[in-house]
């Protein structure tokens, strides 16, 4: 088992005929993912990496039984693509697209909640369950099977950390990049809950960053509900206030969202917080 995606997941790629869509369709297939369909309006009948393309998500679902979708559609059209998948009955939607307007993000997240659909992202690298499936753009090479669940607001930093886990012989159950935007479909708490309930996950790694209070809320949740050991790294200790550090969500405003506050909250919840990214692997190795 793993969380959210496994070998039974039937993946649909929205925006499959674009550069990113094509590239990652191949990469996902190479990872072992069962990519069953693609959607690009007007391109029905084409094949991309042997995957049939449809005009609409509903056509794709009807023909292929797709159960999860990954969105590579440009930001102005991303909400529409997500809503299309929700209405077609897709239950997991991974939104890779960055620069989605925040009001669009709020709307699609509310609508997904109403319809019982889980959104990961936007502005996220997606997720990977090594040995099973990947619905995302994470590099295939860094993973190895195991029982550490990883949840992160960042992309490359996550690959770095997962890679160091792999190099230290520590495998992962599922790695999820939840996205760097202020409004995201699935947050730390929701992922922690999934990992807590996943029999294949024994330890949890949480990679946070400055901005918002998601890490503080996660710390409260960990104190109350998480029995598995949690390790964390928080990026942005030295970021100046008022400056957006690359991610739309990574900003300290009006004294809120500092790394110190997050680290303090996590430590008081019993989480081991690493000082540099690669230290997480060391902290876990020590506990083995």
């Amino acid at each position: 088992m793993a969380v959210l995606v496994d070998e039974k997941t039937r993946v649909l790629v929205q925006g499959i005929t674009g550069h990113q869509g094509r590239y990652h369709t191949r990469a996902m297939k190479e990872f072992g993912t069962n990519v069953v369909a693609g959607v690009t309006p007007g391109k029905a009948g084409e094949l991309v990496e042997d995957v049939p393309v449809f005009n609409t998500v509903r056509d794709a679902v009807n023909e292929t039984g797709a159960s999860a979708s990954i969105i590579f559609v440009p930001a102005p059209f991303a909400m529409d693509a997500v809503l299309e998948s929700i209405d077609a009955g897709i239950k997991l939607i991974v939104t890779i697209t960055e620069h989605v307007p925040v009001h669009d993000a709020m709307k699609m997240v509310s609508y997904a909640k109403m319809k019982g659909t889980r959104i990961i992202g936007p502005n996220c690298p997606g997720l990977a369950s090594p040995g099973k499936a990947k619905v995302g753009i994470l590099p295939n090479t860094v993973f190895t099977e195991g029982n550490v669940g990883v949840v992160s607001r960042s992309g490359t930093l996550t690959y770095e950390i997962v890679n160091s886990l792999t190099e230290a012989g520590i495998g992962q159950s599922t790695t999820v990049g939840i996205g760097g935007d202020p409004v995201i479909g699935t947050n730390f708490i929701e992922m922690l809950e999934l990992f807590e309930n996943d029999p294949d996950t024994e330890k949890i790694v949480m990679v946070g960053e400055i901005g918002g209070t998601a890490e503080e809320e996660a710390a409260d949740y960990i104190k109350e509900h998480i029995t598995k050991p949690v390790y964390a790294y928080i990026a942005g200790r030295t970021a100046p206030p008022g400056k957006r550090m690359g991610h739309a969500g990574a900003i300290v405003t009006r004294g809120r969202g500092t790394a110190e506050s997050k680290i303090r909250a996590l430590e008081s919840a019993g989480v081991k917080v690493a000082k540099i990214p690669t230290e997480i692997a060391e902290l876990i190795a020590k506990d083995l």
Binding site: H99, R237, M245, G246
Partner: protein, 367 residues
């Protein structure tokens, strides 16, 4: 994108929120004759203008022009005053606060209001705040405005007037794609509520659907503005190590690790997911303009390949050599090839962030 007060007020007005009848001037002589008193408000994108002397009152045309003379060109917390907003002085009976923000926790909007206006909202104790999440799909409903009016202790008549303000500000917030829409103070006058000040931050990612908006760039340094135009995530900092990395989280982590070894970053430059040599060259073009002593390149190759990034670096150097040392840390896909390419240009590439950071700090004179 932060808007100037006068721009925000134009938008507020369009959505039915009463604002003082004002106009802007860039020269003292453009101030028109008036009766009574006017207020001259420096148009800068920074809070605390009042305390910094950027807001003044005047009773006659001559006095107003004299004050304008002083204000125009003045520096307020690093921002030059180029424009003044001239408004009739309003008759303040009471000041309130009201704003809509994007609330990350609930993933909905949040309405905040208080009967204590005109002060920083952070300084108002929690129990004096009215806070309510507003779902974007259902929007503002009468019951919320009712609850707000009770909390603010409004009379029935005032509560009626509040309907227009709350609905108007909600319209501004949603239709203009705002990160923040704030009225502080919201002033009760004998004629009802008036937005005496207006703050509006438009969500950057939504600018594509607000083509009519005048672009406000003053919140960035010239170099940041240049990076922005090239689509590079770049922040100017006050240290002397120029950091380039791929991925926002990794770039932040790089800054933090440098700081662990007493180094200080002078730039935050996120290459993003690209390994396009052109982009790498552009990044170097930006960073060479920053006042730094060392370049620190930190690449984790996942989807991005180390060798193509290295090629970009080498090409950037060939185009125009950097007159400072470059420390690289390269890890991941095609790591060895990447290192080899850099070595050919005399750049030593480390495998661990730790080692590379120490070297960068040393070269920057920090150790």
């Amino acid at each position: 994108m932060k808007l100037y007060e006068y721009m925000a007020k134009e938008i507020f007005k369009k959505h039915g929120i009463p604002v003082p009848e004002g106009y802007t001037v860039e020269k003292p002589e453009d101030i028109r004759p008036f009766e009574g008193e006017v207020v001259l408000k420096s148009q800068v994108l920074v809070g605390g203008r009042g305390k910094a002397g950027g807001i003044k009152f005047a009773s006659g045309l001559e006095e107003a022009r004299k004050i304008a003379e002083q204000l125009l060109g003045m520096d307020i917390k690093g921002y030059r005053v180029r424009k003044l907003l001239i408004e009739p002085k309003i008759n303040i009976q009471k000041e309130y606060y009201m704003s809509f923000i994007v609330d990350r926790s609930s993933r909905e909007a949040m309405l905040i209001a208080s009967a204590e206006g005109g002060v920083e909202i952070e300084s108002v104790p929690d129990e004096k705040l009215f806070r309510r999440t507003i779902n974007p799909l259902i929007g503002i409903q009468p019951n919320v405005i009712r609850a707000l009016s009770y909390k603010l202790g409004l009379t029935k008549e005032q509560a009626k007037g509040m309907v227009r303000i709350v609905n108007g500000l909600w319209e501004v917030f949603t239709q203009e794609d705002a990160d923040l829409a704030e009225i502080n103070p919201l002033v009760l006058t004998p004629d009802g509520f008036v937005a005496a000040d207006a703050k509006l931050i438009i969500n950057d990612d939504s600018l594509f659907r607000h083509k009519d908006l005048e672009i406000v760039e003053e919140e960035y340094t010239p170099l940041e503005r240049e990076a922005r135009e090239k689509g590079i995530a770049f922040v100017q900092l006050d240290g002397n190590i120029g950091v380039i990395a791929n991925g926002a989280g990794l770039t932040m982590a790089t800054l933090d690790v440098l700081s662990l070894y007493e180094g200080k970053a002078g730039t935050f430059l996120d290459l993003g997911g690209t390994d396009n040599p052109e982009k790498v060259k552009e990044a170097f073009g930006i960073i060479r303009e920053a006042p730094i002593d060392v370049v620190f390149l930190n690449i984790f190759g996942g989807i991005t390949k180390c060798d193509t990034v290295a090629t970009g670096v080498v090409e950037a150097m060939k185009d125009r050599p950097m007159n400072m040392p470059i420390v690289a840390r390269i890890k991941g896909v095609n790591e060895e090839e990447g290192k080899e390419i850099l070595r050919s240009e005399g750049i030593h590439a480390f495998s661990t962030l730790d080692e590379a950071a120490r070297e960068a700090v040393k070269l920057a004179g920090g150790e």
